[in-house]
């Protein structure tokens, strides 16, 4: 694969970064949502590519964020919406780590239960979602048991 040392493929229209993270292979249309979920839209230099050509998946989204390195927990959250994503860590323009994401067993605080009658939507109760299936990804509310597909999961904020 034509990967340059800063994690950018030759001919890409988005510019390379020196230090930071490239989140690649996101399903088309998910990048903004994922960037918002990770709080990347507040202050950091972020480049979002949408509907880019992908040899593997046809089309894909991509996020580049400068001077920000994702934690394992953040990578797990990405997996909910993009199970095939890869997270590339760039330091001094070098690709130093390439991670596959894995779906978490439990997600706390970030999602909203889609059941309007759930206690978490009625009283100040922190949400907790549990993965009940990984293929397709199905998430259930820990409290009321209401299930949604990962792509339908609603996020706080």
């Amino acid at each position: 694969m034509n990967v340059q040392k800063n994690g950018t493929k030759k001919g890409m229209i988005v510019s390379p970064i020196e230090n930071g993270t490239v989140i690649d292979h996101l399903p088309p249309g998910r990048a903004v949502r994922i960037a918002r979920m990770l709080g990347l839209t507040e202050g950091a230099v972020v480049i979002i590519g949408q509907n880019l050509k992908s040899t593997k998946y046809g089309r894909k989204d991509l996020i580049k964020v400068e001077n920000r390195f994702l934690t394992d927990e953040e990578c797990s959250r990405i997996a909910l919406f993009a199970p095939n994503a890869t997270v590339n860590i760039i330091r001094d323009s070098e690709l130093v780590e390439k991670r596959k994401v894995s779906i978490p067993d439990v997600v706390e605080g970030i999602a909203i239960c889609s059941n309007a009658n759930c206690i978490t939507n009625k009283e100040p109760v922190p949400t907790r979602m549990v993965t009940v299936s990984r293929s397709p990804v199905v998430i259930a509310c820990y409290y009321c048991g209401y299930e949604v597909k990962a792509e339908d999961l609603r996020l706080r904020g």
Binding site: N117, I119, Y142, Y143, C144
Partner: protein, 315 residues
């Protein structure tokens, strides 16, 4: 698993072995009578945010039959809930007054949240107060399911292998959700009779499919009446509908009369968690196949057994 101080929130938290233990205890209590010394000195609180006749009174009767004291509210009128108190604060408070909490609440997941609150208290060094779900919103009603299974075993001599039809509001009815989960453990055949818009929620159907349960969907009682061992009727619950027009479209859709029972097996039993509105005609009451009042009576031995096991009266 040991029942001492255990929260009873979802029927899915229990194994078949757990359920059989509760049934065994209930049977012994019915046979030998209730020991009024078993829970002497214990106090059970009944927090009923929603109306109830059978669940609250049978829990109260059960607790008192074993010598326990009860404190309760029935409806939020007159409580601090009217002032905006959260469930958390009420549970934190009542945990100081009682050894067990039975809660009925309009919101789905309320019982799980209540159980988490008392568990956190125990982690802070306070006494663990077990929480029993007396019905949470449209979600579950596990003790109703226990008495339903107990009634099925009592009337048919077994649970496994029975063919059971659930009829009516399968979408919003918490009793049928819990019952479907439990029947999945016993190897029953399930017939789900409902208008399309009130059919069983997909997550319950997928659970049954994952358990390999033979389950079919129907729109009329006549399609299944000849083959079933249990006809489990439910009320179309006006209070659960987000839209009154939706309620008006389906109300009165299913009504069992004595005449309709003609093709049914003589051993078939009609059950209903009650209250009924018009879905079971009064003339069915005198048919030997009606079993719903006996079913309601089973609330006492089942809830007494459960309280005794959770509060350590019986190990």
């Amino acid at each position: 698993m040991d029942f001492l101080n255990r929260d009873i929130v979802s029927i899915k938290d229990l194994t078949r072995e757990d359920l059989d233990k509760v049934f065994g205890t209930a049977r012994r209590m019915e046979r030998d009578g209730y020991d009024r010394g078993l829970l002497r000195g214990k106090r059970v609180s009944l927090l009923f945010y929603e109306p109830s006749t059978r669940t609250r009174l049978s829990f109260q009767a059960a607790a008192q039959s074993l010598g326990a004291d009860t404190i309760w509210f029935a409806g939020i009128e007159g409580t601090s809930v009217m002032k905006g108190e959260t469930l958390k604060d009420t549970i934190e408070t009542v945990s100081n007054y009682a050894d067990a909490i039975v809660v009925r609440h309009p919101y789905d997941g309320a019982a799980r949240w209540a159980a988490e609150i008392t568990t956190r208290r125990a982690e802070r060094g306070e006494k663990k107060v077990p929480v029993i779900n007396g019905g949470d919103g449209r979600n579950e009603h596990p003790t109703q399911t226990m008495l339903d299974l107990y009634t099925m075993a009592q009337s048919q001599g077994r649970i496994g292998g029975l063919t059971i039809a659930m009829v009516g509001d399968l979408k919003y009815g918490r009793t049928v959700h819990s019952l479907a989960y439990a029947l999945g453990m016993y190897g029953c055949r399930i017939r789900l009779v409902a208008p399309e818009q009130l059919q069983m929620p997909p997550h319950v159907l997928s659970y049954l499919a994952s358990r390999g349960v033979e389950c079919t969907l129907h729109t009329s009682i006549e399609e299944v009446i000849g083959e079933v061992d249990i006809l489990y009727m439910t009320r179309i619950q006006k209070e659960r509908f987000p839209d009154e027009n939706e309620y008006n479209r389906v109300r009165g859709m299913y009504r069992v009369t004595r005449k309709m029972l003609q093709p049914a097996k003589p051993t078939m039993r009609v059950m209903h968690p009650l209250p009924r509105v018009d879905e079971v005609s009064v003339d069915v009451d005198d048919d030997p196949r009606s079993y719903y009042f006996k079913q309601a009576g089973n609330g006492v031995p089942i809830r007494a057994a459960l309280l005794a096991m959770v509060l350590g009266g019986i190990s």
